[in-house]
């Protein structure tokens, strides 16, 4: 059996809150999970859920109050556990007096690469994230989106086997988001393990093999997309034009609910247990036009809201996710 890349066991983090008489604030409460090699694993949750705290615990930036975490079998307290890990922080800030090329060379050296090898890797990565033309531009001149792309590049500088991305889509325009999605999929195709946190559920839905949903510092749900999301059709939605009173009365008798959008134009919501075909025939027979017909399935957003609603909280002293 393949060893998990990440093993987290009852990981807990309390932050002291208050100056004179600090009280513990539990940012993460007894989180346990495993991430297998080659997985794209999503860590989802609202602000203050404990997502960023989890990632920072894994990278040794924050010390756990209790519990353990291992990466590639090594405790996260050891420097060696980060040798095969790349990390993109949330809203990254880099040394703005350096150029993109210099930053990647420096970070490559911190990962144990020779300067020449780090420079070669850096150049290739800047091309890969679309910053090849700006490689000799000082980072202080980069836009927010360019810094985010640079952040992705630096996370890959030593060709890591595990890539941890904290809100990787943050600050990116639609093209940038598409590029990062493609990059994550290409990393998966190269056999790398990707762990990322996100608020953007559609990205998680298209990218992740498994997700963990956190809220108020606790794990609310964990599993594959097929485990968590019910993909069977729950209902049908039809958009009809030219609906008269007779047809409307007949549709109501089936148990469908209707919303009148404009005179003659209605949106019909038919519970999923009933097939939509008879309605289509009636509509045709009554001279109405079918503008749209679509199935309603449960989405990750539905699952997410089900687990986190009523459990939102804000982390004291922060403005972003924690």
């Amino acid at each position: 059996m393949t060893e998990p890349v990440i093993v987290v066991d009852r990981l807990t983090k309390d932050y002291p809150v208050g100056f004179w008489r600090p009280r513990p604030y539990r940012a993460l409460d007894a989180l346990s999970l495993e991430v297998a090699p080659g997985e794209v694993f999503g860590c989802l949750g609202p602000n203050g859920a404990g997502k960023s705290t989890t990632l920072k615990l894994l990278l040794g930036l924050v010390t756990p109050t209790s519990g353990t975490a291992h990466i590639f079998g090594r405790p996260v307290s050891s420097v060696a556990s980060r040798e095969r890990v790349g990390f993109l922080p949330e809203n990254p800030v880099f040394y703005d007096y350096l150029t993109g090329e210099e930053l990647l060379t420096y970070f490559g050296q911190l990962c144990g690469l020779r300067a020449s090898e780090a420079r070669r890797r850096g150049t290739a990565l800047l091309d890969r994230v679309g910053l090849g033309a700006e490689r000799r531009l000082a980072i202080r001149r980069y836009s927010k989106g360019m810094v985010q792309r640079l952040g992705v590049a630096q996370a890959l500088v030593q060709d890591p086997d595990l890539v941890i991305l904290d809100e990787p889509m943050s600050g990116l325009d639609p093209i940038g988001r598409r590029d990062v999605r493609a990059l994550i999929l290409s990393l998966r195709d190269e056999g790398k393990t990707v762990l990322f946190s996100s608020h953007i559920l559609s990205d998680a839905e298209t990218l992740c093999s498994r997700v963990a949903i956190l809220a108020a510092g606790r794990l609310q749900a964990l599993g594959s997309m097929t485990d968590l999301v019910q993909f069977s059709v729950r209902a049908w939605e039809l958009l009809l034009d030219g609906v008269d009173a007779t047809l409307e009365h007949r549709l109501r008798e089936t148990g469908a609910t209707m919303t009148t959008l404009s005179p003659g134009r209605v949106q019909v919501h038919l519970p999923g247990t009933q097939p939509p075909e008879p309605l289509l025939q009636w509509a045709n027979g009554a001279g109405a036009r079918v503008l749209a017909l679509q199935p309603v399935r449960e989405t990750l957003e539905d699952v997410f809201l089900k687990h986190v609603e009523g459990k939102r909280r804000d982390v004291p002293g922060t403005t972003g996710g924690a």
Binding site: T63, P92, V93, F107
Partner: protein, 268 residues
């Protein structure tokens, strides 16, 4: 060693790109300008004054840089959160701190070397335009190699001040770090007075507190041989070696305490 070198060179590059060395231009202008004025006013004492001024300015400019950059070594990285990406790499916190320290020592080394060259250049020009008869009245030659001893000890003092700034910057804000470091630099020159506080009538607890503080504060007077050098008095080699050893030990202690604090920090 490669990691240490990379962090140190990056710290040095930061100082260069932050235009820290512009202070050298100010130093050179101050030195040359003052020398020209003194040359007109203080016949006979002029070379001593130039040496004194050059050494004092080297120390003041150096301390300014040590405090200004030292407090930013870690505090700015933490405040701006650039430390997140760096410490997520396989680099230990002690090596990161040592690299930062060494990088700043490199910056200060370049700074004081250029200042030394400027001082010797001014003195060389001054010697070349001074009649031999006047030179004969000088207590020490203008281009006295002992100036290098004074400059070297100033550098060791700057290393100690940088260590103090590094320590404060690991847990305090930049403003507080600057205040504390400057206060310790000033107090460090009066450690001898604290150790003999009973001679001015203090007693009991005051004496013990003064002694305790005197042993914690860096004894910066050990590095001050400016008067001896300027007046051509001997500077015993043993005194220089002891001062360098004390400076190295104090700097190492500051780094070790900084490491102990930095290891426990959470980067939220």
């Amino acid at each position: 060693m490669g990691l240490l070198r990379a962090v140190a060179l990056n710290t040095f590059r930061e100082a260069v790109r932050d235009r820290v060395f512009y202070n050298l231009l100010l130093f050179a202008v101050l030195l040359v300008g003052t020398s020209l004025i003194i040359g007109q006013l203080a016949a006979g004492q002029d070379v001593k004054i130039i040496k004194d001024l050059g050494l004092a300015a080297s120390l003041l400019f150096g301390v300014g840089i040590a405090v200004f950059l030292g407090i930013q070594l870690v505090a700015r990285e933490v405040e701006r959160r650039s430390v997140h990406a760096t410490l997520a790499k396989p680099v230990s916190r002690p090596v990161f701190l040592l690299g930062k320290y060494v990088g700043l020592l490199l910056t200060l080394g370049v700074n004081i070397t250029v200042m030394a060259v400027a001082l010797f250049a001014v003195l060389a020009v001054y010697q070349s335009v001074t009649p031999a008869g006047v030179q004969a009245t000088w207590t020490a030659p203008a281009l006295d190699p002992r100036l290098l001893i004074a400059l070297g000890l100033i550098y060791v003092e700057l290393a100690v001040v940088t260590g103090v700034a590094l320590l404060f910057s690991t847990y305090s804000s930049a403003l507080l770090s600057a205040t504390f470091t400057t206060a310790i630099w000033v107090a460090g020159h009066f450690v001898g007075d604290l150790r003999t506080v009973e001679q001015i009538g203090a007693s009991g607890t005051t004496v013990w507190v003064a002694r305790l503080v005197s042993w914690v504060l860096p004894n910066l007077a050990l590095f001050d041989v400016k008067a001896e050098v300027v007046h051509g008095l001997p500077v015993p080699a043993g005194q220089v070696v002891a001062a360098v050893g004390y400076g190295a030990a104090y700097g190492a202690a500051m780094w070790l305490i900084a490491v102990a604090i930095f290891q426990r920090r959470d980067f939220k």
